[in-house]
Symmetry: C2
Subunit: 197 residues, 2 copies
């Protein structure tokens, strides 16, 4: 199983001395959480960013008919957080749930804000995280508006190269905004074409 | 015609002395631009945020078949910018074009960064802008994944209350990710129900 350590992630991504990071990171709560448990439920106010060190989370909504809609998967090395709920202190519309047994570091809002105030490099890094988030969301909207099922699938494989074997097809289809039947068709078509090459 | 002044917008939204804002804002370029002109084209690197003082912009992509997909409308008082292109210095996938004769203030990236470094309140305001952007994008994805055509339409009317009379139906449908026929049906259904009440 892959493993990503938040301290390593930060020291490789931010020009900030290890001691400062260590001081802040060591205060953070790291939890082991079994598959099928919740880190956020609809109606809660999101109080933490979650950094996945091991395992896999899903971030999703449930519509009136009880159907799940996947906004994001978070495997090792990914952050997941409902920034809307956390920043604006509003009840979340979403759920965060473990799809596998996971190890997750919980950061409360203040950690990033404090580090940003103390350290300009960290502020820049935080800004980059926000812009990266916007980049992902914007691309996703453009794909949902304009791309075929196959294009969406290929983009999924690019973003999440090792998830196809870890995530049920119904959830992949939900992420892509297509039916499971359509996803099967896409996979079959791609396999046939690969075979013919 | 409504008119929104960037200076007024900032002084009412940020706790920052008028003099500081004035110094920065007065250096900015304000342009009058006729309907049907471009502020950003696919392949360009986006060098500015645009604040709409008068008029209306559309922010969109064009797919391989030449079809437009609207990511955002920007009427008076809205910002529009390809943050991905600007922040990561990458060629944009998108276009920004005037849908009406417009007056637009152009802010280059440095203005917000400089003001943020000089002034903590401005940094907080900028952070709020980024989170607000994320909030909009996330909601949009959730609607595209989970909402009916009618729900998407009602959300559109809430976000853009005065745009229905200013924007062609085909562009509204494109924003909603539905066909123009489906949009007509939704509007007819809603009108019938309103009439029956």
């Amino acid at each position: 199983m892959n493993s990503f350590n938040l301290k390593t992630f930060l020291t490789t991504n931010v020009e900030i001395d290890e001691q400062t990071i260590k001081e802040h990171i060591e205060k953070l709560k790291k939890i082991r959480i079994k598959k099928g448990n919740f880190l956020l439920r609809q109606g809660d106010i999101c109080k933490h960013s979650f950094f996945v060190e091991e395992g896999l989370l899903k971030y999703y909504s449930i519509d009136e008919k009880g159907k799940q809609h996947i906004l994001q998967f978070a495997p090792e090395g990914w952050f997941v957080v409902d920034r809307e709920s956390m920043f604006f202190n509003q009840p979340s519309q979403y759920f965060i749930e473990t799809l596998e047994d996971s190890v997750v570091t919980m950061m409360d809002e203040d950690v990033f804000a404090e580090l940003s105030l103390q350290n300009k490099d960290f502020a820049l890094f935080n800004n980059r995280l926000l812009h990266n988030h916007i980049r992902h969301l914007q691309n996703r909207i453009n794909l949902l508006l304009s791309a075929t099922a196959e294009e969406r699938y290929l983009e999924f494989v690019k973003i999440y190269p090792d998830l196809l074997l870890r995530v049920p097809q119904t959830l992949v289809a939900s992420y892509l905004g297509i039916t499971p039947e359509s996803l099967s068709r896409v996979r079959k078509d791609l396999a046939t074409r690969r075979f013919q090459k």
